[in-house]
Symmetry: C2
Subunit: 436 residues, 2 copies
């Protein structure tokens, strides 16, 4: 079983920073992230992951979020850790592929092969205006660009043979020119000649992570992703997603084990189920309705929900069609499905989303958390989990001290690190180079 720590602000619950268990460390302080990484390494987690957005988070007024840029932060963490994998998000929508390929190849060298790239198309409102665009490119166009982007960057990462550097002082030959090649890419979105000016990296290239679960996102994942983060509201939907994405991956000519599926899980952990429920209630009582409404609106392309009463059960008629949403489409579908099935009030829905923004949230004792993880893992819903502690670092520390030992005792989780690269952690093979 694989476990990835999703680092986010002072915790995934939007009120984490207001709770007495929350930290006061600044989100721009490298020491905060070093501590999280060291706790995750102590817990033998596979990797830690940093999400990203290319504009101000609209909810930052009332939520301790934002801080550092992921590529620079994982580089700094590479120097300060020795085992854990480091996964940085970067956008195919507003970045030059040559620059991105180069920074990630460099990161993979710097970390001795512990890097993953979480591939996103940028959907947050406001990003387009920071990059000279009048409006956000439509969903389909963003994915078309992402496919071509991957063709370019994998081409660049394979533009050097692993043996290109000869480094022979006696003859004076440092690099054998026949062992590097231009890629001469000419496509609808990019023209990139290459080669890259960084040697092929320890893992060949970074592990490719992906997080969009829309139909377009799944097609992309089936073709390229080696690990997938996904928000699934319950066991049944997680099983359906797991089955479907594995099938699509096989249909795309790859093996089931070439892709690891990692649903998000946000566990509120306390000594007993009762105390965990109380802690969850405390957190929800510290949220602001205004923040929840702004976030919900952002999920539905700016739709205004503020006229709805807080305490009557919702229906899908209160929501726009999620399939028309040009933002993070799959999350909008998850939310409307939840409304259809459970009929929460608006206040209840905002509390659900306050936990981990639509990811699976549960409260319980360490045993209950371990039971749920075991069920999802054994019943075809997950190859592992994207761990989203509601309060950081407190509930990460609890997870490592209380839940990890239970998973180990049950034979579900490693008891020591094996291998050295992130590919070793996830059991993924090093990509061969088709050109050399």
């Amino acid at each position: 079983m694989h476990l990835n720590l999703f680092v986010h602000g002072r915790g995934h619950h939007e009120a984490s920073w207001r709770h007495p268990l929350g930290t006061r460390q600044r989100l721009t302080d490298l020491d905060y992230y070093k501590h999280l990484a060291s706790v995750a390494e102590k817990g033998l987690l596979d990797s830690l992951f940093l999400a990203d957005a290319l504009s101000m988070d609209g909810s930052i007024r009332h939520v301790a979020t934002g801080g550092l840029e992921p590529i620079t932060l994982v580089a700094a963490l590479a120097g300060a850790t020795s085992n854990i994998g480091l996964v940085a998000t970067a956008s195919t929508t507003y970045t030059e592929p040559f620059n991105l390929a180069r920074q990630f190849a460099s990161l993979d060298h710097i970390s001795n092969g512990r890097i993953g790239w979480n591939i996103v198309t940028s959907w947050t409102q406001g990003a387009e205006a920071n990059f000279g665009f009048e409006q956000q490119p439509p969903h389909a166009e963003r994915y078309a660009r992402a496919f071509e982007f991957l063709e370019v960057v994998t081409g660049l990462w394979n533009s050097w043979s692993d043996n290109a550097i000869v480094d022979d002082p006696a003859s004076g030959l440092f690099l054998e020119p026949s062992l590097i090649r231009a890629i001469d890419h000419q496509g609808a979105h990019f023209r990139v000649k290459g080669p890259l000016n960084v040697p092929r990296s320890p893992q060949g290239y970074p592990v490719l992570f992906q997080a969009g679960s829309s139909a377009g996102g799944q097609r992309f994942a089936a073709r390229y992703a080696e690990a997938v983060f996904t928000a699934q509201p319950d066991l049944a939907s997680a099983q359906a997603f797991y089955r479907s994405l594995k099938e699509q991956t096989v249909a795309a000519g790859r093996r089931k084990e070439d892709i690891a599926i990692l649903p998000g899980i946000s566990p509120v952990i306390a000594a007993s189920d009762r105390e965990a429920d109380a802690l969850w209630r405390e957190l929800n009582e510290l949220t602001a309705v205004e923040t929840g409404l702004a976030r919900l609106s952002n999920r539905f392309g700016g739709h205004d929900f503020s006229h709805l009463p807080l305490d009557r059960p919702l229906s899908v008629d209160d929501f726009p069609d999620p399939h028309g949403v040009q933002a993070a489409q799959s999350r909008a579908v998850v939310i409307t499905d939840l409304v259809r099935q459970q009929r929460p009030t608006l206040r209840e829905l905002l509390h659900r989303l306050a936990g981990a923004r639509g990811h699976f949230t549960l409260a319980g004792s360490p045993e209950r958390i371990a039971d749920t993880i075991q069920t999802w893992f054994e019943e075809g819903a997950a190859d592992g989990f994207n761990l989203m502690p509601p309060i950081l670092p407190a509930l990460l520390e609890t997870f490592v001290e209380e839940v990890v030992p239970l998973l180990q005792k049950r034979g579900l989780f490693r008891t020591h690190y094996e291998g050295t690269t992130l590919r070793d952690r996830y059991g993924l093979k090093r990509p061969s180079n088709p050109y050399f």
Copy 2:
């Protein structure tokens, strides 16, 4: 006096990697750079600096160069050092200003205020084809873009008040929205709304370094640069450059002390002057004519020098007009001036350039090196130096062990670090924020 270590391959002399004093460490190994940083910190140097180019170095076949990308590398070094400043090169020609502003703000937080940005316009042949361009933008156009780029990124770095983060759990207010602002930039090259999504950094923004010495480059430096790297072939030309750039800076409405001028110096150091001369000869004998010709050609926009005899004195008629060169124009001027004044043979010229690509190279005992540094510093040629050891790390270690103590004994160089930021090192003030 300020001293900056210019890290470059296995040393600035192109044959360093073939000499017995050269290292065999891989240029993709973080430990190599960590060692260089620790030696430089032991020598109390102000900063270390990484140059960059956005295409394959044409001379890499016979020169140990290339390796890691500067932004990711300085981030990793920030986690592994505690005092030295870290200066990364990044291009205004082929990077999105929002992405660059964000990564450098993040670096400044990560390093607790030890970051500098060496601002370049990309001139190396081949970079354009990695970014979708048919040809390199002309010299003047690259600088026009650079000026606007600086307006955008300084605007983004000033888009947050230093006090914007309130972080008050009791009231639930994390950020005060009136203390951040959009920049709404609409220019000839960029449209960027902002604000940045990273808080204002410890130094306000990174120290702005610049290295182009053409007329356009000097205009840019006078307006924006806080420290300048420059290639000067001798004392007289260094004095003239120093005087002129300080005057231009004052004419641009700034103070003389707002800009530090750092000529490159590449010292071949041995126990005696005679042994140092011998070491320099050994290095020159290990160079390849083919490599030198390729580099010279690259300096003159691809002009072919290979038909010239190696051993007759050159004249300026052998060269194209350097002012028509669209690449690194100021370096082409330095080379033709040198030819006009000294009439070297082609072989001699290639040896001169092999030392440090046109920067001031000298050989001598530690006393002789210290004497020269003192003269340049005291006679109005330099506020400090861009130290370019011909062999790394060997001749950096010699400099720190043998030359630094002489400079300290003469009262020219610090004996301990004072302050914590790179601005403290260079005596530069933290920029005030015009908007808050």
